[in-house]
Each structure stands twice: as C-alpha cells, then as structure tokens.
C-alpha cells in the first residue's frame, strides 16, 4: 500500500504505457483480452487519480522525481490540485467511453483486424494525456503531447472511408501546433535555461520584459490554441469528429481539446501569472475575444448541420470557447468557470457523443432529419439521457452546464466585460435552438411508420455509461458548490492572480 501511495503520481503513466503495448501481444492469445486489459488499466487509473486528488488536496502539491533526479536536472511529475483534478476528469471519461466502446467498435470499425489496435491506441492516448497533465517539465509535456496526438490521428483514421482525410488534415495542423509550442519553448529555454515549470516560473520575472519571452509565450499560446481548437484555429475539428468512429469521437471530443486548455491555463496562470498575461502583454484579452467569436461561430454553424455528430463537433468549438472565455477573463471567477467547464463539458460531450453512438448502433445513422418519435420508443433510455445532456448544454439549472455559465457570467460581471456576458447568454439561446431541434424530433415528431416500433434499446455496455453520465450531470450540477469550494477553490488560490 505504501508503495502505491509513494508512487501514485507516476503510476498512471507507468501502467498505461506498457498496457498499450501489451494489448496486441495478449490479443494474440485471446482477442477479448484486449478490451478487458484496457478496461482494467483504465479503471486502475481512475482509482489512482482519486487517490492523487485526495493527496494533492490534503497534503499540497506532490512532486515525483523520475529516476530519483531532483529538478531542475531531472524530470519531475507534479500533481497539484489543478492537474490532479483534470486527470480525474480525463480518466473517468476515458473509462466510461471504453466501457461503451465494445459494440461501437464492432459496428463502426469494419475490419475486425483493427479492433485490437483500437484499444491499444486508445490506451496509448490516455497515457499521453496523463503524461501531459502530470508532468512538471515543459519538454516532457511536448513529448506526451505528440504521443497523445499521434494516437488521436490513429483513432480518427480508423473510422469511415473519409476519416483518413480528416486525420491527415488534423495531423498537419496538429503538427503545426506542436511545432509552434516547441518553438515557443525554445525561446523561453534560451532566455531562462531551464525546462522545469517551477524553475521557469522563478526565473521569469527577471527576463519577462525580453521580446524573446513575449514571442515564446505567443507561440505557445498559438500552438495550444490549435490543439484546443480555439477559434479561428479550429479548422481540423469538424471533419475529424464527424468521420471518426463514435467511440473515438466520444474519447477525443471531451478529452482532447481539454488538454490544450489545461496547458494554456497552466502556462498563463501558473507560470506567467495573470498580471503578466493580462496587463504586461494582453494575451488573455486576445484569447477572450477570439473565444467569444468562436462561441458565436460554433453555435451558428451547429445550427446549420443536419448530421448529429457534425452538429456536436461545431458545438464543441463553441464550448471550447467558453473555456477560452474563462481564460480570457483572467480573474478568479473566470478561472473557476473555465476549470469547471473543463469537467462539465467533458461529461456533457461524452454523453452526447455516446448517445449519438447508440443511435448509430441501433438505427444505423445519426441524421437529425431522420430521427423521429420512433427513436424515442425504440430507445427510451438513450433519448432521455440525450435530453438531459442537451438541457445541460443549454444551461438549464440545476444541470451541470448551467453552473459553468454562472461562474463565467459572474467573472464577466466582475470584469465589467458586458460583451462577454452577452455572448455567454446569447450562446445559451443558440444552444437551445440547435438542441431543441433534435429534442423536438426525437420526442414530438410523429413516426413515419405508424407501426409500433419494437423496443430495441442499446445493449447494457452502451447504456450504462450514458446513464451514468446523465446522472453525473445532475449530480455535478447540484453539488457543484462542493467541487468549486473543495477543489477549484484550491486551484484558484494556487494560481497567480
């Protein structure tokens, strides 16, 4: 037990990496082992994340020195409340999606030879994300970022006929993003001579005025903006999410963009500090306005879509905008909103994409225009969960989505940014337009055929994660004060405002 206790910061990564490699090997013995291995390791990481969060909250930041070398020479893994919290979100969603994956993988990935690689790559992606969030070293972060991104490209390309095109587009843009990050890091490194986050933070005040530092910061922000699909750097997102298999979309959409947001939050508010990024150089102001534009753009584009997954993809652009807006506000309330929305949006988007996956699995399509009353009769639970997710996206209290908007609105008021406030509120209405369009069809459109459709609900493995997420949305909404006070409050106090 003490062994787990001592090594818990590194264990998720340490366990996920070999599992990703072992999955194909074990699958040679028995193909079903692939899924069970992935589930087992994913569940373990969830447990470890809970442990880490408890540790980080009660004992303060945990530092883990890889290889026993203390920083700045060695690479350290740091779990402060922010990273522990984001890790818990990522791993929980990852586990739920993997539970859901079985039938979708069978159905949407036609060649059965790709099923085992799917699990391997998914676990590798989770490993990458765990590494990104847990590491306290900027270059290590880059390596994990590329591991995660490469897995993402694979997960997307595994999908429909057009998926590889979407994947290559994502690959090119994603690599540009990573290169920008690396370049920006190069500038910071030449100015400070260190790659360790804490070390860099200590040295920065001395060189903060240098143009090289400013350029470096700008490049990192652009690079991460690409990774998190911040408007107008979102070009890769819609096709990727649409053509990827539903289970991949459900894995990528809630987690993938959040990691970019995490890195931005980390760099802006924990390394540079709010004063620097909002006053010395108005980075956050730019992010805020871009995010506001992105919210409107994403919402409006979502209204124009006829395919459910594509609609959700555009909605993701808008939702990422919320996080960007919270970052752009550069005040504690905005940060609360942003971090809370990282969690809430992860849960909401996972739920919606999984529900879309259920539609595809049962109905064979996810065209909004072909959904009707029979959908509800055939799959009452999935549709009910979808409705909960949609209402949460719109921001109906007491569901989770309302509260991230609430804190963002408070942040906007505190900053007297009336335009941002208006954008947050307007986007609620736009969300309502495109989600009620779907709800209306599912619940109130008369079925084409009057014959009573048999109840053909998705199988248990697909239904349980969806229902768990739906319940979570209610729970996270009602109990958000506990999370905000207990966890996010600590994150905010450790940020540099």
């Amino acid at each position: 037990m003490t062994w787990i206790w001592n090594n818990s910061p590194a264990l998720p990564v340490v366990l996920l990496l070999p599992t990703a490699i072992a999955i194909p090997l074990f699958a040679l013995i028995e193909r079903r082992l692939a899924r069970w291995l992935a589930l087992a390791v994913s569940l373990t990481t969830v447990g470890l994340s809970i442990l880490n969060l408890v540790k980080a909250l009660s004992l303060g930041p945990i530092h883990y020195h890889m290889g026993g070398w203390p920083p700045p020479i060695g690479i350290e893994y740091v779990l402060d409340p922010l990273s522990a919290f984001v890790l818990l979100v990522i791993n929980t969603i990852g586990f739920l999606v993997l539970v859901h994956a079985k039938k979708v993988v069978d159905r949407e990935i036609p060649e059965s030879g790709k099923h085992v690689p799917y699990y391997a790559v998914a676990v590798l992606m989770l490993c990458g994300f765990n590494g990104i969030v847990a590491t306290g070293d900027f270059f290590n972060l880059y390596v994990w970022l590329e591991i995660a991104s490469l897995s993402l490209y694979g997960l997307i390309a595994i999908g429909s006929r057009k998926a590889p095109v979407a994947a290559i587009r994502y690959l090119i843009l994603g690599t540009i993003g990573a290169c920008f990050y690396l370049l920006g890091l190069g500038f910071l490194f030449t100015m400070t001579g260190t790659l360790n986050m804490a070390d860099l933070k200590a040295i920065l005040p001395a060189v903060g005025h240098e143009p090289a530092v400013v350029i470096g910061l700008g490049l990192i922000v652009v690079g991460m903006g690409l990774k998190m699909a911040l408007f107008p750097l979102h070009g890769w997102l819609p096709d990727s999410y649409t053509y990827a298999p539903s289970t991949s979309s459900a894995l990528i959409a809630p987690i993938g963009t959040k990691v970019g947001a995490y890195v931005l939050i980390r760099v802006l508010f924990f390394i540079f500090g709010a004063a620097y990024v909002s006053r010395t150089i108005p980075v956050t102001t730019v992010i805020g306005w871009l995010a506001a534009a992105g919210i409107l753009y994403g919402s409006i584009m979502a209204m124009a879509q006829t395919e459910l997954k594509r609609m959700l993809a555009y909605s993701s652009i808008a939702q990422v905008g919320y996080i960007g807006l919270g970052i752009g506000l550069a005040n504690p309330l905005g940060l609360i909103g942003a971090v809370l929305h990282v969690m809430n949006h992860a849960a909401m988007k996972a739920l919606l994409f999984l529900a879309a996956g259920n539609f595809r699995a049962v109905l064979g399509h996810s065209d909004i225009s072909r959904l009707d009353g029979s959908t509800r009769r055939r799959m009452p639970w999935t549709t009910a969960a979808f409705a909960v997710g949609a209402l949460s996206m719109i921001g109906i209290p007491p569901l989770a989505g309302f509260f991230s908007k609430w804190y963002l609105a408070l942040g906007a008021v505190a900053k007297k940014q009336w335009v941002f406030l208006a954008v947050i509120l307007l986007s609620s209405l736009l969300n309502a337009v495109y989600f009620f369009r779907v709800i209306e069809r599912i619940y109130f459109a008369r079925a084409e055929s009057t014959a009573a459709a048999p109840r053909t609900e998705a199988s248990a493995s697909m239904l349980v994660p969806v229902l768990v997420l739906a319940a979570a949305l209610i729970g996270l909404g009602v109990l958000n004060a506990f999370i905000v006070k207990g966890v996010i409050g600590k994150i905010v106090t450790s940020a540099m405002f």
Binding site: V165, I172, I176
Partner: protein, 137 residues
Amino acid sequence: MTTSWKDIPVTKFLLGHYGYWFVFILMTLGFYGMVVKKNLVKKLIGMNIFQVAIIMFYLSSAGKWKATIPIVDPAIGTADTARYIDPLQHCLMLTAIVVGVATSGVAYALLITIYKRFGTLHEDELIERMKNDLDME
C-alpha cells in the same frame, strides 16, 4: 573615426543573428509548403522542413565559441563548463527527431490509405472526390 559597415546597427543586428536568419528562412519555407502546396506529400515535406528548422534553432542555441563536445576531456577538466557546449539541447532534439519520424510514419500511412481509397493526393481533387463518395458510413 570611420565606422565600418559592420557597425551600423541594422547590419550588426542582421549579422549577429545570422544563424537565426537561416533558421527563419528554413522555417518560412516549411510553413509555406505546409500551407500553400496542394499536394499532401508536399505538405508533409514542408512539415518535415519546419521540424528540421526548429531542431536547428535549438541546436544553434547550444553552440558556444571555442567549446568542444560535452564529453569530459582530461585536458580541459570540469572546472570551466564554458569550454563544453550544452548537451541538453541535443538530447532534446534527439527526442524531437524521433517524434518527427513517428509523425511522418503515421502521416505516410494515412496518405497511402487515402491514395488507395480516392486515387489522388491533390487536395482539390480529393475534396471533389469526397463529395461524390456516397459511402457515408
């Protein structure tokens, strides 16, 4: 007193950073290839050039005048670290190169799949053929 043309601030700036200018030009070339070229293979070549430029950038920051490779030389000793160049950047870039190789590998695998399915790697044609491709699933 005559000032050499090398002492004019602008030229001084240009000359003093000549390594960076080289990197900058390389980077621009790569970026140009990635953004403007329509052929996906050319885009990837641009991407590789871009990555190489960044690697060069890091390595150029490691260099020192009159310093040698970072292997302890008994003739120099360890007292004066300025005599050795910084090894860290090289280690980092080793990793970056590996990442670049992996990215290229994935990218070319994708390109082959695309070529098999759509018979072209030209972006405009690809979009055209994707439109006509009715298999949505």
